[in-house]
Symmetry: D2
């Protein structure tokens, strides 16, 4: 059976942009995708230069995302890009995704899906009416052992879930002098970042991870957000107490001023009969701790794991896989969904669908609820999914 | 110079009692104390049998703590006990300590100091007017590297403290069927345990550890307490958001239903220029993580540590010391304080005073504030140290 | 500046072959290489099918490596492959590499370079007279912190090296019933594997790692090889005591019957003033332990690392990188060397040359010396680099 | 039932001696032993002062071990010491033990049992003819999880043992300038230390640990011993390849110049169906790794352990126990054996006998064989247990 590589376009991700390079590596490594075009910068010259450094021909380096969608749509079907990868700053995610869908292109977007919950709800309607694939890169769901964790919960190996402790700590915003740090500048700026820095950037990943593993929804939050300095307009640290639809309680810690922490994402799920513990620093290990018995160290590739975990693993046990492979797993899911759309190729065994616009809506609702709960003297606040 | 062993009496800790055996081991291992008498049970016969199994003569096995204090006080000074160790259930800590002080005996008491904040304040006055030594076994402050952590904070190696995350998780109360588990029965019973199970038993240790290391005080709390089952009258799980006098914010997690956790006490302190991480499971390791530099693994006995850490260490590097040695360090401090009282022997270099009734008062205030904050819809509650 | 992707051909690596897929992922992920052709199997039909599944056109799927080299050489320069990747079983590495070099193609070959030391020496002469690039995938030298380790040794941070302990343990050959395990079958067969199974497959990686980090050469060996069963014609376990040119002594443990070990490659280097410890299971951590001071945990991306380590890192600290990225780093080196050859593009800052045929020669000499030392009653044996 | 404390005397262990303090702590912590007398130094005045600092009366502080045995033997039975603890430098172990046995006293001796194999064999005969208890403090066999490891091997949970890797690494002799380090001085001196420094001090512990856990005997050795400097008369580093009576092969690494290592004792045992891994740095964890399944982390106090491990544990799970508790477990065994001798009190459930003079003989044979094997050009050498 022949394989045709899917053709990818990219909006954003010009020279020097961190996340664009990550997306390209993740997209390319499995040999199923080729990068064919892009609007890499709002500056036409920079877009051209970036594209050429990536090996593209000049005529596929566009001056704007409008041009990209218009001119690609006009190409013959066997040259035209199959999907666009959106890696712009947050405030452009929505307009670019909207334009892509309206031009008939599948979308894979960096997170957050939009700038506000309102936009997210609008985008959800657009996706649903489009019959196109929209995927959101909640990267951490791509790890094999995160999938294994979800599978263990689903198979009731923990019993009913009682407590969830999830944490995402970083230290990179500790230093108040962020001059010259572009990442810091736009993330701490409400105009480009949205209503939250820390919760919007990483807290929402933690919330998504908890909901994904437990197949549960956070319904109520009590939140405390902080900034290391009054000059900062957005939060750089916060803690959220929460309750879930299925009756668990939980704690979510997120921080960008926890000096010494690299990218410390960890989740523990405690059930009635066992608990789980997964830590991104050592992503190929998942702890399973049964009541009154020895803990079991589940490892990628060792023993009998779920079909989902196995499909997300590339190498034999003991060959550490990491963040880029997890990210590539999202692209694998997305590619499989697009192929299903194109020619009804069924999803390969164990390949799940990528996070969707529904996750995007929940994420935006989480962020906005946490921010408003923080301002209140009341302890508990429901997460509002609809805005009237 | 000759050394005279101090003579210890014990109230509680009869056969089968867990904490009594711990106290005796901790007291004996350094060869500075001998056990000479006890009222090991409220049942005179059990007290006698317990004492004989411990190698005591029958006439020093008392039928009640009243007898103990009265008859020991009547003995010649060179036979009379020097201090009493109180290891009864919680509700007796106060009356026994009070009786001891009134009879002129130094006291080392298991924690909590009393049953209520009111009693704690009363006991504080008694101690202060007595000129006797009163020590409270907040065990975890006895670890060498906890002392090192305190020293690093004191020497400003972390800069101003911004955030504290402290956790004490256990799983032993997960199973709802606690029949036949004596420890579970009395701890979940408000008559013997007080207003809280989880916060009173272990949450207060976590709070004490944070205050000890940071030399700071928790001033405000927001709390969420839970019980695994409605049949339980007291909390078995909880989270506390807090603020401190010196301007840090923090999170305290305590749980007895986190299945798979053994005795997971961990504290992380994040300052402006570095952070600390200490975990009781590996108590001989303390992480120091400076801003933008490699983390340093401080180990008991390796390199140059503080005088306090060094004085609390018995063996060369790589010989793991643990819980019993930490506990014994409290007894060492207590012994040194008593000797200072008896004959003005100065405290040895690096030996700190043991936790005192002041810690006991703060602990009771923490417990009562957290319990009342949990019942409120308001987010924040001050810790009240005085009851009117 | 424009970038032209290098065009890769592949020999071996048809459907189901483990190492071929690894090479492709490593080659593709950085967007510098495109796969354009291959002779994926000695069976023409399988080669064609494999190639089509990889997205190749039929006319670039060759029936044999002879065809590959002949027909690619005949293509116009702007279509012709730039290099070939050799991922056949061991006994074909030499003839394929030889044919490639003779046809004027750069070569990147899986390890071992050849079937015997004699072939390796012959290949070395061929490479040297060719002015082409030949790289050998000693994968583990591609890890950022292995490069950091080498840099620390080179900068004398450890003082003179006294002792090296290197270990490569696996358990996958524990089970004697290897029926149906193709990997086991050919590796335990002298016809396809060579004079050694365990030492040839993984022991040589360990030796290479030690020599790479210490910039030293093993000169004498004492060896003990074992087989779990007399039915096995080759070793599946062994230990080598060794001495080096610079005066260190060492121990090399290699095993494929250490049940429970995944792919446990670890090296410790002890100098006069400090030691290093690196473990592939957690490849983003490197321990540096100075004399009489706290150990330092060097982490990928944290603080100030060498230019070599930095160039080999794709993501910020805390995003675990693993085996595939280490492998991709070898391809990056190789690509840089080929570009240097093509148009004098200088090697990018921090990019080292990939392991070469000189490493291949040393590897074969190590394997053959260890095998012959094992058969002897004498303790010590020199490593012979020249065969007469 | 009444308990009588056993009365301990001590030879050696005066002020400032490391190992004497360890023995006293281990002896005292369980409340079964009281220190009643000693000959703490060969200098009568120092012996007296040391004894008084330990709380002894002057008349029980003896000027020599001859006095100790003679005068204690003359005391009434209800005052006389029950046993002597020998903590002198190595060369005195034998004469003191001999004198003790001849005077009718039970003996617990620090390791090595004697200065030479010849003395060990003589001592074995003396013990056997005496009907007294002789125990040797091979400390590491006192850890609960070392006992669990032995139990797992005995119950065939690993199948037949194929390979043993045991290591004992320290760095404290790295620095060549050992002036002023008393421990270094006597250990590197053949007159006080014997034929070996590193193998005699710690290599023999590693060998004992392997034999204890596997209930097997090392029969043949190939050894490489080193010294960091030619000025050293004894080894400070070495590796031993070995074979065992039951058919396993193994590697023993011992070092005192592995800078950065604290007291790194680790053993791995690989069987046909599972493996074990235990590390003294984290002594409350034992890894059990079955073939083709997830690894299991056995923890002190968690789940169902052997009667031996349980009897050797003092605190609930998660309260780290360490070196001093392991040492105390040897004293517990010794006490139980002495009580059995005195009044036929049976050994408590799970309490094993302490290491004996048979272990002492094997240890001396190991040391002497390794030293002579090192001098030979031949690879393999049998361990000789009898000297003619």
């Amino acid at each position: 059976m022949e394989m045709r590589k899917l053709r990818m376009g990219m909006v954003g991700g010009g020279e020097g942009a961190f996340i664009g390079a990550i997306h390209r590596t993740a997209a390319l490594m499995d040999g199923q995708i080729e990068l064919v075009c892009g609007a890499f910068s709002s500056d036409a010259q920079r877009s051209l230069e970036s594209g050429k450094k990536l090996g593209l021909t000049s005529n596929r380096c566009y001056a704007s995302y409008d041009d990209l969608f218009k001119l690609e749509a006009a190409l013959p079907a066997d040259q035209r890009m199959d999907f666009v990868s959106i890696v712009t700053p947050n405030h452009l995610h929505f307009p670019v995704a909207k334009a892509a869908l309206e031009a008939g292109f599948n979308v894979i977007s960096d997170k957050p899906a939009t700038f506000s919950l309102k936009e997210a709800l609008e985008l959800k309607e657009l996706v649903e009416s489009s019959e196109l694939v929209y995927a959101l890169t909640h990267t951490y769901t791509g790890y094999p052992l995160v999938k294994e964790a979800r599978d263990l919960v689903a198979r009731k190996k923990l019993g009913a879930i009682k407590k969830i402790v999830v944490e995402y700590s970083q230290g990179w915003l500790t230093d108040l002098d962020t001059k010259g740090n572009k990442q810091a500048a736009w993330r701490l700026n409400p105009q480009t970042s949205g209503v939250s820095c820390c919760m919007g950037d990483i807290g929402v990943h933690a919330a998504n991870l908890a909901e994904y593993i437990c197949e549960d929804e956070i319904t109520d939050v009590c939140s405390l957000l902080d900034s290391a300095d009054t000059s900062r307009l957005l939060d750089d640290d916060g803690t959220v107490l929460f309750k879930t639809a299925k009756g668990a309680s939980g704690v979510l810690l997120a921080s960008q001023i926890s000096v010494g922490e690299e990218n410390n994402l960890r989740i523990r799920v405690y059930g009635e009969t066992a608990s789980l513990d997964w830590h991104q620093h050592e992503p190929n290990t998942l702890w399973f701790r049964p009541l009154d018995d020895s803990a079991v160290m589940i490892r990628t590739g060792v023993g009998s794991l779920s079909e989902q975990a196995t499909a997300a693993t590339r190498t034999p046990a003991g060959h550490p896989e990491g963040y880029l492979e997890a990210f590539a797993n999202l692209y694998q899911s997305f590619v499989a969904q697009v192929r299903l759309n194109i020619d009804q190729t069924p999803l390969p065994a164990g390949v799940e669908r990528a996070p969707s616009i529904a996750d995007g809506v929940r994420g935006m609702a989480f962020i906005e609820s946490v921010v408003s709960a923080n301002k209140s003297d009341r302890k508990w606040h429901p997460i509002k999914l609809h805005i009237d």
